[in-house]
Symmetry: C2
Amino acid sequence: MSIEVLPVSGLPIFHEGDSISKEICDKIELKDGDILCIASSVYSKTKGFTRVIDSITPTEKAKEIAGQCKEDTRFIQAVLDETEDLILEYPFVLSKLKCGHVGVRAGVDNSNIERGFIIRLPPEPMISAEEIRCEIKEITGKDVRVIITDTCGRAFRRGQTGVALGWAGMPAIRDFRGDTDLFGRVLEITEEAVVDEFAAFSNFIMGESNNGVPAVVFRNAPKWEGHDSLFFTSDEDITIKALKKK
Amino acid sequence: MSIEVLPVSGLPIFHEGDSISKEICDKIELKDGDILCIASSVYSKTKGFTRVIDSITPTEKAKEIAGQCKEDTRFIQAVLDETEDLILEYPFVLSKLKCGHVGVRAGVDNSNIERGFIIRLPPEPMISAEEIRCEIKEITGKDVRVIITDTCGRAFRRGQTGVALGWAGMPAIRDFRGDTDLFGRVLEITEEAVVDEFAAFSNFIMGESNNGVPAVVFRNAPKWEGHDSLFFTSDEDITIKALKKK
């Protein structure tokens, strides 16, 4: 059976207080089992997870880092305010957030928002995903799965791809441990980060820049079993340890 | 318009000398513009990019690394034979391959192959992708785009996802540089690794273990402009530099 990937077209430019769930349900008839990917930037705008850049007073630390990487001192302060573990200061700021996600500039963004404002990532994306899932259940009666996505660079390869920040209604990782391969051999590679694979492809549909498609629906995707331990702790991750020693 | 994602079901277990292109064209009616993702493991088997583990004589270096990470010495020798730049020896071997891809154990695999054999990644995956694209054009007359995929871990996040090794008929990266956002501001994040986003989602459809779906078709995907510079050089990549210093 084929999977259908549907852009949710015609959504408005969102502002604080708007209901993403309601607008999406107005534009597309959701079905049980659909996986709905939503761009975190749009979610953050509706929830007021934004800041006025002029209202931010940079600390000495922010000034020091901003000088090194030639960024606005107030912008870097906003990045530090989101950072739980500062992995790298130069040539760019790389942060681990409280939710576990690791991102350049802590995911703070000044694209696709009015000048003078910046967007923060949703601070509790798992709760955000569950909240949208519940709202959609309430509006439509349908049982959908939800992924809040971000666009993010990575190690070893150029370019950004979509990744999952929060999810609800499914486990993040499909766990094959103990399964056998086609020749009856127990598999060694066994944990597939499925929510990131959906987030990645949804990002292709969303596009960046002025395409303006902040929500994508995957229809007919089978279910999987697994767990939610998507983010390495700083101790587990050899890359974080190496970058911090640098 | 929605994108359709179709598993190519019913493919046989492949052996050296088989034509993947022919088998795929037998199982699905391809259309102009389709993006066809093929698992590198299956491609390698048909091309004989496999080795008999008993035929490999480990060097002292392979014995030393194998002792540290508790692997078979001959397996590690096979990994070193594929490695252009050895990034990490412990707790696992991480290699940069000649094609630019960075992978644990240089992508050498002993799953989904008869016991006593190992599978190498296709050494020239760009040529492989172009070759399949040409074969399909010859068989069907259709102009498809091709991605050779692998399953791979990453930094910061647990679990593997699909990535692109080689591609043909499209640029790897969609380049938004100079584009503006919804508010007319020039974008800062501007290079989207689109082939990896397709590879990632194709990996969900392929599954690991005994699912046996080594090919996936994306239908109705729009075209994009960009470039093919997907792999960082070791000098460009701050993560490689940090891991090598470790």
